[in-house]
């Protein structure tokens, strides 16, 4: 059965394609891109953008261990609803994904229940304890696309150095959660005037900057690819920029909340504005935008981190870190980056498709004849108001509740099948 996505604005950032036309899908691949194409079924994309399926290389699907927060199936549905066809799951589950058997489990659960492609990452050290390396060769064979102890940094520079050397041998990039935890004392939000005013313990920007710096230097020492996760501070952006100018093998990501919100959001959204790294200040928001504009920041990832309503419905200090992001990411890109002219639509999409995929060598993020039919159709002008009650994710923990955004996904096609249709 063939499917034609008709009369949309077809954009493929990788090839520079940007024109009105049809996309014909057959047997799981893109058969043709052109005009007046016909298929058994038809999605009218008039007024919509048709682009490669979006790629998010940083999500938490919580399975195994925390299925009341999210499962691989519900996370996959949330991804589809947000326009994503490929996501990279983090291994901080219970048990943590630190061997090939568990990688296999994640991939099986994804095949059974997720409408989109799930690419697992696995732990860099056993139990994420920062001590003993995981069996990365076997983990790679099982299908993991990266190693990381996400949620924590590897404390010992010795261990991290060896992890980087070994991971590179196995062909696995390392995803670095940069945080010097010795600088925090029960921190709940960015350290600054707002934390002083709210009386909440702070997480200074130096916590992330110190470790971005260290991890970049270890990338230089080992020559291994280090991907810096969720850059949130002006200092962090500057260090990445410098490291790249020096030719170090690093890439980095940021998340939508870091260019849309400041730490003032903690006043109004409480625990739903609590994540790690935390929301920073106006100058950091500007620096993140600059980093996106000048290419320092390679890709946009959500750090989708669902928690139950009950877990978040407590004192800010006691609430777990993290917010959901899959179902608001594209609209926050369009409304807060593209519309104000921070970056063009094509550049924004590149950071959510081919450039994100390339970081982890995923066969994704491109739209071309003969390629996989992973396609997102969205109406860039459609206005909608964020209501977590309708999320496909089990998580409702978002600081964007009630915010009016532009840009709504109409259809998500994964491997030629409709994963989501509005």
């Amino acid at each position: 059965m063939s499917l034609v996505i008709a009369n949309g604005h077809v954009i493929d950032p990788a090839s520079g394609l940007s024109k009105r036309g049809d996309v014909l899908i057959d047997n799981g691949s893109v058969k043709a891109i052109g005009g007046d194409l016909n298929g058994d079924e038809r999605i009218d994309a008039t007024g919509c953008v048709v682009c490669p399926g979006l790629v998010d290389i940083h999500v938490h699907f919580r399975e195994p261990g925390f299925e009341s927060k999210e499962t691989i199936a519900t996370g996959g549905q949330a991804a589809a609803r947000g326009g994503f066809t490929s996501v990279v799951t983090m291994p901080n589950t219970d048990p943590a994904i630190d061997n090939a058997g568990l990688v296999d489990f994640v991939m099986r659960r994804a095949r059974e229940g997720s409408p989109v492609k799930v690419w697992p990452s696995a732990c860099a050290t056993k139990g994420r304890a920062g001590k003993q390396m995981t069996e990365m060769a076997e983990i790679r064979e099982a299908g993991a696309v990266a190693v990381t102890d996400d949620g924590s940094d590897i404390e010992s520079a010795w261990v991290l150095r060896r992890v980087l050397e070994y991971a590179a041998m196995c062909g696995l990039p390392y995803l670095a959660h940069c945080e010097d935890a010795t600088l925090m004392e029960g921190g709940a939000m960015n350290e600054g005037y707002m934390s002083t005013r709210l009386g909440l313990p702070g997480l200074p920007k130096a916590m992330e900057e110190i470790r971005i710096d260290r991890n970049c230097r270890l990338a230089a020492l080992t020559g291994s690819h280090v991907h810096i996760q969720h850059v949130s501070s002006a200092g962090g952006v500057a260090i990445c920029r410098q490291a790249k100018a020096a030719g170090l093998p690093i890439t980095c990501e940021t998340a939508p909340h870091y260019w849309t919100l400041t730490d003032e959001a903690v006043m109004t959204h409480g625990a739903n504005a609590k994540m790690n790294p935390p929301l920073r200040e106006a100058e950091d928001v500007e620096a993140v935008k600059e980093g996106l504009a000048d290419g320092t920041i390679d890709c946009i990832a959500t750090d989708h981190a669902p928690h139950t309503v009950t877990e978040k419905d407590v004192e800010v200090q006691l609430a777990p870190f993290g917010i959901v992001g899959l179902e608001t990411s594209l609209a926050l890109v369009l409304t807060e980056l593209v519309e104000p002219g921070v970056i063009t639509l094509e550049h924004a999409l590149a950071r959510m498709t081919n450039r994100a995929a390339d970081i982890l060598n995923l066969p994704a993020g491109r739209l071309y004849e003969g390629g996989p039919a992973d396609i997102t159709v969205f109406d860039p002008a459609a206005e909608w108001t964020v209501d977590p009650a309708v999320f496909a994710s089990l998580g409702r923990n978002t600081p964007f509740t009630g915010r009016t955004l532009r840009g709504q996904v109409r259809a998500t096609i994964c491997d030629g099948r409709v994963a989501y249709q509005a």
């Binding site: 600054g192 934390s195 005013r197 009386g199 004192e315 200090q317 006691l318």
Partner: protein, 330 residues
């Protein structure tokens, strides 16, 4: 006495002095003297029926003697029924949520719930969801509004007495707050309250106990005790937590004493008319020298007496001002 005016009070709760306008703070302070009189009665009943039959729940997650007994006494002198509930903060992480516990309290038809909690934001979180009238008796190191109010009242009374001006306010009065500013809810409530009333506040403490951006709350900041005391009309000494040295925030208490203790020697930097205050309990001879604490410039016990009256005024305003509440975040 039952005719005590409540006009101008429109809030359901008292969460922090950051929320209040100057006019609201003054309303509380102006309501308090009538309650001072009740507590001081030599003969007759030291009680009024303004909250008769109402239930005031004192819900304390942290140990407290002074604040807790002050609230209890205030409620009793207003003829309310009181119920004391204690809980450890950790129990909320293990079992029942704060919201559930309050819902249970409310099922017993409480009117006012006074809450002391170890985490910032707890009182506001409850006030926004529940119908109980919440009085924040201290949340983490965020705010302790009734302390701020009783301190402002004490300062105002002192000024009125000294200057023999029954209308005098706090405009231009200089208040130096000395000690651990970072971890102090008393400092924060006093900064908001006193600056709204027109006072000039300077905070002073070791650089390790000075929170970032504190000046943006409207005060000055210095690490030099003598500079802080210079021109101070009020010297407000905070309690220093003795375990701070274990967290590398202070080298030793000895050095803290050297640099920041308010004693006869350091007080020479302050004008002779300056009064000395402390929220209690005092670590004698650490942040405050005994002879100063017990001396003629100390108004520490007046603070305690006024505390009961100010809390009576607050409860009266909350309960008897009608039910056209504004939301706490207005």
């Amino acid at each position: 006495m039952s005719e005590v005016d409540t006009a101008g009070w429109t809030r359901k709760d008292l969460i922090g002095l950051e929320d209040l306008s100057r006019r609201e703070i003054e309303l509380i302070l102006d309501t308090a003297p009538q309650f001072v009189e009740i507590s001081k009665r030599e003969s007759g009943i030291k009680k009024v029926p303004l909250l008769q039959g109402r239930l005031v729940v004192n819900w304390f997650f942290e140990p407290s003697t002074r604040t807790r007994s002050s609230f209890e006494l205030a409620a009793k002198r207003l003829s309310a029924d009181t119920l004391a509930m204690s809980a450890s903060t950790s129990s909320s992480t293990k079992g029942e949520t704060l919201h559930d516990t309050l819902a249970n309290i409310e099922a017993m038809h409480s009117d006012i719930v006074v809450i002391r909690h170890g985490h910032a934001g707890a009182a506001r979180m409850l006030a926004e969801r529940h119908s109980s009238q919440i009085i924040n008796a201290g949340d983490g190191y965020h705010e302790h509004p009734t302390q701020g109010l009783l301190d402002a009242y004490t300062i105002r009374e002192h000024i009125r007495k000294t200057w023999r001006d029954p209308e005098a306010g706090l405009d231009g009065v200089r208040v130096a707050i000395i000690g651990d500013i970072s971890y102090s809810r008393v400092a924060r409530s006093n900064i908001w309250g006193l600056t709204k009333l027109g006072a000039r506040v300077v905070v002073c403490g070791p650089s390790t106990l000075m929170p970032p951006g504190i000046e943006r709350m409207g005060c000055e900041a210095t690490t030099d005790l003598r500079e802080a005391l210079n021109q101070a009309d009020v010297v407000y000494v905070l309690r220093i937590q003795l375990e701070r040295q274990q967290k590398a925030l202070l080298p030793t208490l000895r050095e803290y004493i050297r640099l920041f203790r308010v004693d006869r020697e350091s007080l020479k930097a302050a004008p002779p008319h300056a009064i000395v205050m402390h929220p209690g309990p005092i670590n004698r001879d650490i942040e405050l020298a005994s002879d100063v604490a017990d001396g003629g410039r100390s108004v520490v016990l007046e603070q305690v007496s006024n505390g009961v009256a100010v809390r009576m005024a607050i409860m009266h305003l909350l309960v008897n001002s009608g039910k056209g509440w504004r939301k706490t975040d207005d």
